[in-house]
């Protein structure tokens, strides 16, 4: 948790960075690099792509920090800039493969529906969650990470990922079904 002094220091750095101070922004980058990388890796599941995405996101953030209104929410704002960049990269990758998320999602949802009663919520997630998240399509991973690590609402997720709220509702609902399916131990269906 950020204590009072840290928060004040960060606010000062944000204001300096908004005025074009590169050193101040460099300090902010250093403070938030680990989290930014974690977000990028959790969605891309690839080290070099995650590193590239973070660097590009930081360059984007430096360009657009002047537009940041809620200076106290810099961390949250930066996480969303990173997520947006990461998801853009994921989409480019996906487009190259000519596969769309709807395909895997629709298939998996069908699997979830046809697999009878899902778990009753008592499964121990701690051992399997990482693997289950990895199996989700990238859009689903991005939405799940935003919801559960950034506390983002459906509308916020829609804005960050540039998708309609209705799509995000469906994606979150599918993610819920898919995660429960994967965590139930049914590993026979690869994404």
């Amino acid at each position: 948790m950020i204590n009072n002094d840290t928060a004040k220091n960060e606010l000062r750095l944000v204001r300096q960075a908004k005025a074009g101070d590169r050193e101040a922004f460099g300090q902010l980058m250093e403070n938030h690099a680990v989290r930014a990388y974690r977000i990028a890796f959790s969605i891309l599941q690839n080290q070099s792509e995650a590193e590239d995405a973070v660097q590009e996101a930081f360059i984007t953030a430096f360009k657009s920090i002047k537009k940041l209104e809620k200076e106290a929410s810099f961390g949250s704002w930066l996480s969303r800039v990173v997520t947006t960049r990461v998801y853009d990269l994921a989409r480019q990758k996906q487009r190259g493969k000519k596969i769309i998320e709807s395909e895997t999602a629709a298939l998996k949802l069908e699997i979830a529906r046809s697999s009878g009663n899902p778990t009753n919520g008592t499964t121990d997630l701690s051992l399997d969650l990482k693997e289950a998240i990895t199996k989700l399509p990238e859009l689903h991973r991005a939405a799940v990470m935003l919801r559960y690590t950034e506390d983002a609402s459906t509308d916020d997720i829609a804005k960050v990922l540039g998708r309609p709220a209705g799509t995000i509702r469906r994606v979150l609902s599918e993610s819920y079904h898919l995660l429960r399916l994967y965590l139930k131990g049914d590993d026979t269906h690869e994404v």
């Binding site: 922004f25 460099g26 680990v34 990388y37 590193e51 709807s102 309609p164 509702r169």
Partner: protein, 314 residues
């Protein structure tokens, strides 16, 4: 309100972010639907666990120290790569390799001249005129002279003209009016867009004429009658969005509950019989219908996020 719609909004119900009217609809449904009540309880429990477990997973990811060091040297304002024209690029290359290029150019000129000399030297030695001048001034005479001159090894005037026509910019071969990659022939012979066209895109590029048929025989590739998994095609962001919106349409969802999807294709500015859609059409081929292999057409406006279903078989 349908169960599927209620279940999609359970996260917002849990978060308390629904509008008053939406909340009323959901609560009304929940009161009368034990299945959705059970689903809500399960979603709540699972959601609470994920709120604990997902951040823990995130914390377990560690970047490499080398990457963190690299970030300290990150250039925040990298110089954009200047767009160079082909001419600029060639000139730059020429500057870099002036001697080699000069030599190469000289060799090329010598070779070109060696080939050109036979066509130039047919002329009478006492006439100080060029081929062009002869052709312009006295084409027939020049032609006769060319034909009569035993030493001529180059092409005749007619051949030269033909050759120039073949290689020239003007090509009179009729071009197909549709873009090959975007259309396929369906089983009933109608053209079907396979990959779709982006809404903002300019009309599809006219392909080079090729000896292959104008409509490729690729129908079998998408005849998925025996395929278990649906084939879903979409290449652009807008097409993906169109498919998502079509699949979210309540009427479509209702039909898909009892049907398998054989394939999904996106078309732009499509019409068939009574159906016309100047925007995106998402064509969903169904598996278990009577008659079999019916197609749902969903006209999608990606700007407003609206979708309208049309079933030709109705």
């Amino acid at each position: 309100m349908k169960c599927s719609k209620v279940r999609e909004r359970l996260f917002e119900y849990i978060d308390g972010t629904l509008s008053k009217s939406e909340l009323g609809d959901i609560e009304e449904h929940l009161r009368s639907c034990p299945d959705c009540q059970l689903e809500l309880a399960q979603v709540k429990g699972f959601d609470a666990r994920l709120k604990l477990e997902v951040p823990a997973y995130l914390e377990s990811i560690e970047p490499s120290p080398a990457f963190l060091n690299r970030l300290k040297r990150l250039d925040l304002e990298p110089t954009p790569i200047k767009n160079q024209s082909i001419l600029d690029t060639l000139l730059a290359l020429f500057q870099q390799h002036r001697v080699a290029w000069g030599t190469g150019l000289a060799v090329c000129l010598i070779i070109a001249l060696a080939f050109a000399i036979p066509t130039i030297t047919f002329d009478d030695e006492d006439k100080d005129t060029t081929i062009a001048e002869q052709m312009t001034a006295e084409p027939e005479a020049a032609r006769e002279e060319m034909m009569e001159e035993p030493g001529i090894t180059g092409p005749t005037f007619d051949e030269m003209g033909k050759s120039a026509g073949d290689g020239g910019a003007v090509n009179t071969t009729p071009l197909p009016t549709e873009s090959l990659p975007n259309y396929l022939s369906s089983q009933d012979g109608t053209e079907m867009a396979v990959t779709g066209i982006d809404a903002e895109a300019t009309p599809p590029p006219v392909p080079e004429p090729a000896p292959t048929p104008a409509i490729p025989e690729a129908t079998d590739d998408y005849d998925t009658g025996d395929t278990a998994a649906p084939v879903i095609l979409g290449t652009t962001q807008t097409e993906e969005e169109a498919i998502s919106l079509a699949l979210e349409d309540p009427d479509v969802e209702a039909i898909l509950e009892d049907n398998d999807i054989l394939s999904i294709e996106v078309r732009y500015d499509f019409s068939e019989e009574e159906y016309t859609c100047s925007l995106y059409t998402v064509a969903i081929e169904l598996g278990e219908t009577d008659p079999p292999e019916s197609i749902l057409y969903v006209c999608v406006d990606t700007e407003t996020g609206t979708a309208e279903l049309y079933q030709p078989d109705e």
